[in-house]
Symmetry: C2
Subunit: 189 residues, 2 copies
DNA sequence: GTCTATAGACCGATAGAC
DNA sequence: GTCTATCGGTCTATAGAC
């Protein structure tokens, strides 16, 4: 299906550019060029830039859904699943420090131009928190949602600082500390 | 000095708009209108938009420098100073949830268009971490910079999530938890 | 110092030939 | 389905009247 292929390439290019320069800074011309699709042809696949943005959010959501399914498949142990989440941020620290979090960036970018799309992107965080809360719940944590929120907030905050300071080591250090804490928890952690 | 006044109004308007819609989404026309300064007059005070952006970074830096000086003046107790920092985020939770962190937004926005300005904005975070580290150091914390980084990362991460999920309560809850932890620390906290 | 007019480039989006 | 040509609008920045 050549149609699907071009559409897919456009979404992939827009997704990549949304991370590198932000969606509002990425023109349709640049996206089309990066996707190797004729410039004016974009409007055959998407009737507006917002519709392309919505496809980008969908692609990111599916990407992170797949990641969580993989972590679930790799281990039944709730602690190991949470460790997989933290290690993913650790392993991507260089890119995250260079460009920031792709989801966080998408949320703040889209919220400014289209509240609906911003909320749509926010659901990726909501799904991640809900997933982590399941693991904390299985561990018998008294407030699983709070603990999950804290874990996701930690990776987000460290990513923001690593990005702002251009210091991937900061993010790696925080992830490693979180991993240690997950493996040897104290009360209330 | 009417000159200083207009220049100051332009910087104030640009600073406010950088928080509300992002600096790259704020046109010079909009900024001038918000500052009640004739549109084309902007270039008398700033020779480029980047120079105006640099003034915005300077204004934010001075704003947060003044905040820390106030917290230092209000108490000699290191714990109380750190609590002041956390309470400031808690008190501004509604605005932070609606628009995100002004510094974090400035950093990610400017880094994308001008790495130099992005690094300049990043120094605001660096100064905040250094300030918090002084308090942790006074408390005899074994790794004051790590602890300070963690505290700032916590507020940033909670702000990102509160903004993405449109949930100011999330940020307030995290700040209150952090305050409790500051007032009744455990080992390694 | 102040302001208008506008250049020159780029944007999202559309019309219509093929 | 595919692609070109282009419209109307907005952007940063400049030239120059007052």
């Amino acid at each position: 299906m050549p149609v699907r292929d071009k559409r897919q390439r456009l979404v992939a290019a827009a997704t990549e550019l949304s991370h590198r320069v932000g969606l509002s800074n990425a023109s349709l011309a640049t996206i089309a060029e990066e996707a190797d699709v004729p410039i004016g042809n974009v409007y055959y696949y998407f009737k507006s830039k917002d519709e392309l943005a919505s496809a980008v959010v969908g692609a990111r959501r599916e990407e992170y859904d797949a990641l969580r399914r993989r972590w679930d498949a790799e281990s039944d142990d709730p602690v190991q699943r949470l460790v997989s989440f933290v290690r993913h941020a650790r392993d991507g620290a260089d890119l995250l420090a260079a460009r920031g979090c792709p989801i966080g960036g998408l949320c703040s970018d889209l919220t400014r131009t289209s509240p609906d799309l911003g909320a749509e992107a926010g659901e990726i965080f909501a799904a991640t928190i809900a997933w982590a809360a399941d693991s904390y719940s299985a561990l018998g944590h008294p407030r699983p949602v709070d603990a999950a929120t804290r874990l996701v907030a930690m990776t987000q905050g460290a990513t923001v600082l690593a990005h702002a300071l251009g210091d991937a080591g900061l993010l790696r250090a925080e992830c490693e500390r979180a991993e240690v804490e997950l493996l040897a928890p104290r009360d209330g952690g």
